[in-house]
């Protein structure tokens, strides 16, 4: 006789318990890595890998929540400058001496309404991608345009693939980077103010070459 009768297992509860456990372990792992005072490349790379593993898990959870339509943004007011500052400081730790992180928040409004946790997830994903593809520099900026808060991540890498820009819907489902972009767009669209909806805009800069990830929140 088997020890546990599988029919009695509530899969959802078990998944939730495990997700909880994984997050706690990820938190411990990140703290441990933060304690290591080293400029060694391997440490910086481990940090980034650790963050990417977490991104993957967050993506799965978000997808699950979108699927079951349980996702409602929790809109509150935040300072975009402070918000971007957090990414910049964290990106600096991850980039080490390899890549320069530039911040541009002079044109940011003093406060804006958005779901901090969701937008943070979309931005982190973009930054982690930029850290993989950038050659020397990443710029993270916040500014107001057309009554939208624009949060932008610009790198100086090879840029988005042409077929991704031409047909994002198809390309997006084929890679893990694509899934991240799909979710970033979904997060932007969850932000609605009166008759306007948020969106994700992607394009490449030519001079200098690089990808631009631009989240627009009403």
């Amino acid at each position: 006789m088997s020890l546990i009768d599988t029919a009695n297992i509530d899969v959802k509860t078990i998944i939730a318990l495990n997700v909880h456990e994984v997050k706690n372990l990820m938190a411990l792992l990140m703290f441990k890595l933060d304690e290591v005072q080293s400029t060694e490349l391997a440490i910086a790379e481990s940090r980034l890998l650790c963050h990417r593993v977490n991104d993957c898990m967050e993506r799965m959870l978000l997808l699950f929540n979108l699927e079951s339509e349980r996702l409602r943004p929790n809109i509150a007011d935040y300072s975009p400058a402070d918000f971007v500052d957090e990414f910049v400081r964290n990106a600096q730790v991850l980039a080490g001496s390899r890549i320069k992180i530039v911040k541009a928040v002079e044109l940011a409004p003093s406060y804006w309404f958005f779901d901090r946790d969701l937008v943070e997830m979309a931005m982190m994903n973009a930054i982690h991608n930029a850290l993989r593809f950038a050659r020397h520099e990443i710029k993270i900026s916040a500014y107001e345009a057309n009554q939208m808060l624009v949060l932008e991540v610009t790198d100086d890498g090879a840029g988005y693939a042409e077929d991704l820009l031409a047909d994002p819907a198809t390309a997006i489902m084929q890679t893990s980077q694509g899934l991240g972009l799909y979710l970033a767009n979904a997060i932007a669209q969850l932000h609605v103010n009166k008759d306007r909806q948020g969106q994700l805009l992607l394009h490449n800069n030519e001079h200098p070459r690089g990808a631009v990830f631009s989240l627009q929140l009403p």
Binding site: M30, I75, E86, R89, Y111
Partner: protein, 541 residues
């Protein structure tokens, strides 16, 4: 970078590994005075013993306790100053729902996993905000809401990133001062930019204060439609329905809120009470049962919930069960005169129901003796039970006195008067309603006028005698209390400082400060008290 080296920190997490990791992380910011605690109860014990500057608390603490409960216990109990930074840490993405809907929010929260750098930045922000609000908190601590509003205005003119927080604070202060017209304009401004839930709630409050109940209900229903998690909206909506007399709608609204958040026991209690008033014994029993059961280890539990549950069992004719709940209450709480009185009253009703007359009379006598000896007061529902028991157990005169006191105490509360009416009908004394209820209300008004007349005629001693004894008999009656305080203060002003009288006046004022501190009459008498104090060189804060 901010200097954290002087800060004293408490970390609350049920995992020792997480505690030590967080402690290491904090030590990297220069924090050396750091304590850890693996359980909520132990943490509260520590906080009672010494002051901390930063509390980092995990939301999931195991064993039916969570960080939000700890936070509410600390803030409601006044165990932590507004200057203390409370950071919630959680692995649940769902926590943002908890925090956005809770009346009491932590200063900030962090979703696991997070980096040391993120934690440091969030702490810096929290202290930056506290520094901005420091003057406001100080003014509020001195009870000076008027100047606190002026300080809000001064800070708002700077157009900082705290604009929205300042507006929220100002709105709440305006409401507390009954300046609902100004508050309404403020909330309408916020909503025109963004319909955030707290602004809608604020707007609904101001509409209700302006007597626009229908508009308030509409606003609240809109808020619930957009944010079904925002529980405060249900509470207010239920109140609006109830004040309109739609008690069944009110019950339905509260039941929905309880479905969303079954942990909040105070709301379960309210469901039980309103269901009981609506004659819905099944739902009342269920709600009180949950409160008694789940509240066993809670900080906010009350014997009243046990009594309420027992009362439902009694109404259903389940005498054994009713008695068992009363016995449970006696075992679960410290023995106080209030507890003994309330349980004896309930026992007398149960015994009477079971046709055990001797035991019923004995229990009632016990309760009456305690009342006579200690003069302690019972919650309304138990006072009503006591009166009922008196009528059922041949203590008719005592019953009448209790009913009169209750009605005079709540002379402007129709709900109380209705429950009294219903009780009298139940014990077959419908013919006494006019005499006991309506006359009592008239008597209070008459007594009040008599007291005021005596004072005007210069017979301060007579006025004091009349009003003070009345104020003691009906502690909820603000008019009587204010008139009594007034007479006491005027007496000192004219006839010389009387320490006992002035302390009594201050006591009467304080008892009504929270609910009626904004009444013009209250403010005037409070000012007079201070002035008279000044005249005699005594500080009457």
């Amino acid at each position: 970078m901010m200097d954290f080296s002087k800060k004293r920190v408490l970390i609350i997490d049920d995992s020792p590994a997480m505690c030590s990791s967080l402690r290491n992380t904090l030590s990297n910011f220069g924090i050396s005075r750091c304590e850890t605690s693996n359980s909520g109860n132990e943490a509260v014990f520590r906080i009672r013993q010494r002051a901390f500057d930063i509390i980092v608390c995990d939301y999931c603490l195991g064993e039916g306790s969570d960080g939000q409960q700890i936070l509410e216990q600390l803030r409601r109990g006044g165990l932590i100053a507004p200057s203390v930074a409370f950071l919630m840490v959680t692995a649940e993405r769902g926590y943002e729902k908890v925090v956005s809907c809770a009346e009491l929010a932590p200063d900030d929260y962090l979703l696991k996993p997070f980096t040391a750098e993120t934690m440091r930045l969030r702490l810096e922000r929290v202290f930056e905000k506290k520094a901005t609000f420091a003057v406001i908190y100080e003014l509020l601590d001195q009870g000076n809401a008027v100047d606190a509003i002026l300080e809000c205005d001064r800070l708002l003119a700077l157009r900082s990133k705290f604009t929205i927080d300042l507006i929220r604070m100002k709105g709440e202060l305006l409401i507390s001062l009954d300046r609902h017209e100004e508050a309404r304009v403020l909330y309408e401004q916020v909503i025109s930019a963004r319909a955030i839930p707290w602004a809608r709630i604020g707007l609904a409050k101001t509409l209700s204060m302006a007597g626009l109940g229908e508009e308030a209900i509409e606003t609240l229903e809109l808020a619930i439609e957009d944010n079904p998690q925002y529980l405060e909206a249900y509470d207010l909506l239920a109140k609006e329905h109830e004040s309109k007399g739609s008690t069944e709608l009110a019950q339905a609204v509260l039941e929905k809120a309880v479905e969303i958040s079954p942990q909040t026991l105070s709301r379960q209690t309210r469901v039980g009470e309103i269901a009981y008033r609506n004659g819905d014994l099944v739902k009342a029993k269920r709600a009180f049962g949950i409160v008694v059961d789940k509240g066993r280890y809670s900080f906010f539990r009350s014997p009243n919930d046990f009594i309420s549950l027992s009362r439902v069992h009694l109404d259903e004719g389940q005498h054994d069960k009713a008695l068992a709940v009363v016995t449970d209450a006696k075992k679960s709480f410290d023995k106080t005169p209030e507890l003994e009185m309330a349980t004896s009253v309930m026992e007398s009703l149960i015994h009477h129901g079971a046709n055990n007359e001797t035991a019923a009379k004995q229990a009632l006598q016990n309760a009456l003796d305690i009342k006579e000896k200690t003069g302690v007061l019972l919650p309304n529902s138990s006072s009503l039970d006591m009166a009922k028991s008196c009528f059922l157990n041949d203590k008719v005169e005592e019953g009448r006195t209790l009913v009169k006191d209750m009605v005079s105490n709540f002379y402007d509360d129709e709900q109380v008067q209705n429950t009294v009416r219903q009780m009298l009908e139940k014990v077959g004394r419908a013919e006494e309603v006019a005499n006991l209820v309506d006359n009592s209300v008239r008597d209070v008004v008459k007594l009040n006028n008599e007291g005021v007349m005596l004072a005007k005629k210069g017979d301060l001693a007579g006025a004091i005698e009349l009003l003070v004894s009345a104020a003691k008999r009906m502690p909820q009656n603000v008019q009587v209390a204010l008139n009594a305080a007034h007479a006491l203060i005027v007496d000192s002003d004219r006839n010389g400082w009387n320490e006992t009288n002035m302390n009594m006046a201050r006591y009467f004022l304080r008892e009504h400060a929270a609910k009626h501190g904004n009444l013009e009459k209250y403010k005037k008498i409070n000012e007079l008290m201070k002035d008279v104090g000044l005249k005699f060189g005594v500080k009457m804060a």
